[in-house]
Symmetry: C2
Subunit: 342 residues, 2 copies
């Protein structure tokens, strides 16, 4: 069998079975977005990496080097945010074709260090290599979280509310707009959605506030798409969920681009991906405290978008016309296999 | 200017000037092989990464997936060894073409986790991506060292002895043998040098013993080639050095392959690279204690190969015929520019 048949998620499952058991100092290991490592100091160390490949994750025609650097940092910082943690240090590995302009590399590092710096993190190392074909960038981020504020994907219970920070679908709208030059939308809408795609913001202050609030039972960041990441949360927690499309936070800019594209913006909010918002489950009685915690931290607000159900109810979507359908098809992205089913 | 003109080392120098100053908790940052990070617990955290690109660092015709996994681990563990540290955790990022056999990926991870496991380190995460062209593997390793046992490149003083563990040149001999099928050498010699190239051993127990001995003033691992890495140590310490070719530890196997190749094995020992032995400077009065420390730890022995000189004497090589020449030309490898000068 080849990678194109098994796919990314199938391979990870095989590796989890193949590799030796994780020792006790590994709180979370292979299969999670972030490794959580118990240290003598009492805090947990967080370690995550994300490899970005030209023509797979980005095209240099669609993003500047500076934006790419910022984006690379944000994508990794988002994983730290989802654990309720704070980033500390980063290392960057780059494989560059000979013809790469030095100014491109400098701009990429400027963007990377600016985005890290805004999160009080610092680039401390890395390495450079030549490659014959495409540009490859891998960023490794180390962070920290107090063990009692650590957020996991598991822990959601039937009856919990499902909430999400910020808005969903903007990044997909931005990507579509970059690929369809003929669509006519306002300059303000264009700027908002293209920014959301090129330079997403990691929800670090929100993640920390949610972790410290004590009211969140399970959390992750929306990178693969809301339905796909909701499925990850449900699987880890052993629950099902209902998502109410009318409740999804969709920006006016996203609606405007969706109208120009002739599609339902709810589709982009459900499955667009790369939103880097936080999806989390809370007991209903914690809701008020959660909104207060986000406001106190100066974070973006969160909105209830559905609820957690018993596992046997699986994952379903309630559409504006009142119909309720199981979430199936078109719910995420596997880099080897393309769109994948729930 | 393009990367092919500026090169890896020129780019790192530019980035060091470009990027913000490293904060106080960063003991060693950009420009070193390993980042050294002060943690609340008192120990230092070590973080290193190494990206390996198909057709640049390895060819799948010359190494099996299992060997490649072991090699990738060893290369990173060697950096931890050079700081006197112990590895703890690793994350692996892979970019794989669609056609990569799943069995190849499994064998690579088996090799990786075996080599890590032998060093009491564990793989705790990573990520997989598709790539159109060549295979790319990036490994991050986190380790730990007590601050007083931390080894640096700086600290060598004129009058110190220069020592190296194990033997030099075997890896280059192995690489040459893999590329020249017509050379006739004994099976034992072939096995030794090909193993040295495909599955080098990180000198972890030696690095720890040397760090704890208190007798080592500066240390690094020989990855770029003895002369190139000696130049790194001298630059960081602000000193010069003399290397005595007759003293270089060259194995009988390496001599046999060099004879078949019709070259001087001293050239491979001086500039072959990828030896992953430890090069270090010690006061002459510490020499006996160092040999004892290595023996007690069950490590390979070290040998005196030269001495540290004042900076103005630069780096020179004493050849068996008695001539002493400055080290210049053919002293290391820049992935963008090929062979580079001192």
């Amino acid at each position: 069998m080849r990678m194109g048949e098994l796919g990314e998620f199938g391979m990870i499952e095989r590796l989890k079975r193949l590799l030796p058991a994780q020792p006790v100092d590994v709180v979370l290991g292979i299969g999670d977005d972030v490794a959580v490592l118990r240290t003598p100091g009492g805090d947990c160390l967080l370690a995550t990496c994300d490899i970005q490949v030209e023509n797979i994750h980005f095209r240099t025609a669609e993003i500047t080097a500076h934006q790419l650097g910022r984006r690379l940092a944000a994508v990794n910082l988002s994983d730290i945010a989802a654990m309720g943690g704070s980033p500390l240090w980063a290392l960057a590995s780059l494989a560059l074709p000979q013809a790469t302009p030095v100014a491109f590399v400098e701009d990429l590092f400027r963007g990377l260090t600016e985005e890290l710096g805004a999160a009080q993190a610092v680039l401390v190392g890395g390495n450079l290599s030549r490659i014959e074909a495409v540009l490859v960038i891998d960023l490794f981020v180390i962070g920290r979280v107090a063990e009692k504020a650590l957020m996991r994907r598991s822990g959601a219970r039937p009856g919990d509310l499902l909430l999400v920070t910020g808005t969903l679908g903007d990044s997909r709208a931005g990507l579509e707009l970059l690929q369809h030059h003929a669509w006519r939308v306002s300059a303000a809408a264009r700027q908002r959605v293209v920014n959301a795609h090129q330079t997403p913001a990691a929800r670090l202050r929100e993640g920390r506030a949610l972790g410290e609030s004590g009211g969140v039972r399970a959390m992750l960041d929306v990178s693969d798409g809301l339905l796909a990441d909701c499925a990850h949360l449900c699987e880890a927690s052993g629950v099902g969920a209902e998502i109410v499309v009318e409740r999804l936070p969709v920006s006016p800019a996203c609606r405007e681009v969706a109208a120009a594209a002739g599609v339902d913006p709810g589709d982009w909010a459900l499955a667009g991906g790369e939103d880097y918002e936080l999806l989390f489950a809370s007991a209903p009685e914690s809701e008020a405290a959660i909104h207060r915690a986000l406001q106190r931290a100066g974070g973006v607000p969160a909105r209830v978008i559905g609820r957690v159900l018993p596992r046997e109810e699986r994952i379903r979507v309630r559409w504006p016309d009142g119909t309720v359908r199981p979430a199936a098809g078109h719910v995420g992205w596997d880099h080897f296999r393309g769109e994948r089913e729930a």
